[in-house]
């Protein structure tokens, strides 16, 4: 699975992308976030407040119960802030 991180999620985790082998019991977006947070360190800091974390599975916004599979591209990022300032 390819994981992509953007904005302050990227900064806190300290990576912009990584490849992981998905554990068999991680089958949803929510489970993936839990599992990542369990790694501690920057992951725990980045994912401490899930209300400001958005997830895209294969470039589409996905809800917590969305299924994840080993060949997905999954991106974690804060809410988008739009293009320009208003």
């Amino acid at each position: 699975m390819t994981l992509l991180y953007f904005a302050w999620v990227r900064e806190r985790i300290g990576l912009d992308a990584e490849e992981i082998a998905l554990p068999a019991d991680v089958q949803t977006v929510a489970a993936l976030l839990d599992w990542l947070r369990g790694r501690g360190g920057g992951y725990a800091r980045a994912l401490e407040d899930l209300s400001v974390i958005r997830v895209a599975v294969n470039q589409e916004f996905a809800r917590p119960d969305h299924a994840v599979a080993d060949d997905d591209e999954i991106a974690l990022f804060p809410p988008v802030t739009g293009g320009a300032r208003p």
Binding site: A7, A56, Q59, F77, P79, V80, G82, G83, A84, R85
Partner: protein, 152 residues
Amino acid sequence: MIRVQREDFDIGAEIEALTGGDREIGAVASFVGITRADAGDGPPITAMTLEHYPAMTERQLAEIEAEACRRWDLTASLIVHRHGRLEPGERIVLVVTAASHRRAALDACAFLIDWLKTKAPFWKREETDAGTRWVAARAADDRAAERWQGEP
């Protein structure tokens, strides 16, 4: 047509390339967004960096452009959005809509820019003399984009 690019754009050249010679076009509306230093409640912004997720950003820009073409009878449309570090006074986004009649061009242009300013998958980091910070999403912008729900 959509483009996400680091480079600046030339408004007149973009409009001419999009619309030149098309005899169906009677109205061309355009909008240019420019980076401002004014931060409202904080120190002036000295620069802004736009980060994006290229595959998703391009997909979503293409989707919103297709949505505008479904809602209005457009002859041509263009979105050019810059990413990277921008200083105050620099152009950041261009929307051009062309139609036979003015109402379609004007309304589609306003619709697209409302969406781009609020929903486009970009993250902004602002630099000031006091440091840098990631901008949080704004509820007021969500309301502006919601104006379009159910229309036209």
